[in-house]
Amino acid sequence: MQSAYPDIPPGLVAHDLTAAAVQLQLDATLYPLQAIYGAAYIFIDRCYVFLDRPRPEQVRVVLTAKGGQADPGALRALVGEFANELLSCAWRHQVTLDNRVLLETVTMQAIAGAMGQPSLDDLASFDFSDQGFDDPLGIALSWEEKHGKKAPATAVTTDTAATEPAAATPGEESAP
């Protein structure tokens, strides 16, 4: 392998014309493994892709032209396109990580909505008593419980009414 690309920093890319292969050294701290997998998967129909780890913090990607012959320009284009795809995959991976909570929330809501509304039987058999329920405004009360007729007067109420003075009739009003 020898490096022959002046536009690429030395030590990152090397090619082997006899094997029609080009290798790219990647910093594993810059490019997550899932991004490397993503870019490699896209390229396995165009060339042979082999991954290796020469050092713990490094991943080496070897791209070999399928035809068995390639010129330096073709190999340079191949590795350049791979690097672009790798950057795209790394960015998409980062966006996915950033939006993971949002994606999970939306997905859960979509799945819950797809289950449909509960049937009357489901509602009838639902056990509401197993949840702590805080209802300071009385929203959960039925209309009858909240506004219905009061219970009939009890004996105590009757006794109280008997002790109150009878309402005066119009004719019995006293003059000032």
Partner: protein, 78 residues
């Protein structure tokens, strides 16, 4: 990837390639060559040669591609 006489040795790093993916790839390509799989602490080592010696290099490349594709489809090496 190293090549000695008619054999090619492949080292699949354990943290990059899934073991079941390599097994599956060997099964798929078994009728095209001869394979000897061994284990190293950090890699699976595969020595192979094709039934037709001229195709050994291509067989190695195709098998490695297949193993990588299966590894990605499985979501990674672990």
């Amino acid at each position: 990837m190293t090549e000695a006489s008619i054999y090619i040795d492949l080292r699949f790093a354990r943290d990059l390639y899934a073991g079941p993916a390599i097994d599956e790839a060997i099964k798929v390509f078994a009728r095209f060559g001869e394979f000897h799989l061994s284990e190293a602490p950090d890699a699976w080592c595969l020595r192979l040669r094709a039934l037709r010696p001229a195709m050994t290099r291509r067989l190695a490349h195709e098998l490695a591609n297949y193993a990588l594709g299966l590894t990605v489809q499985r979501g990674g090496a672990t």
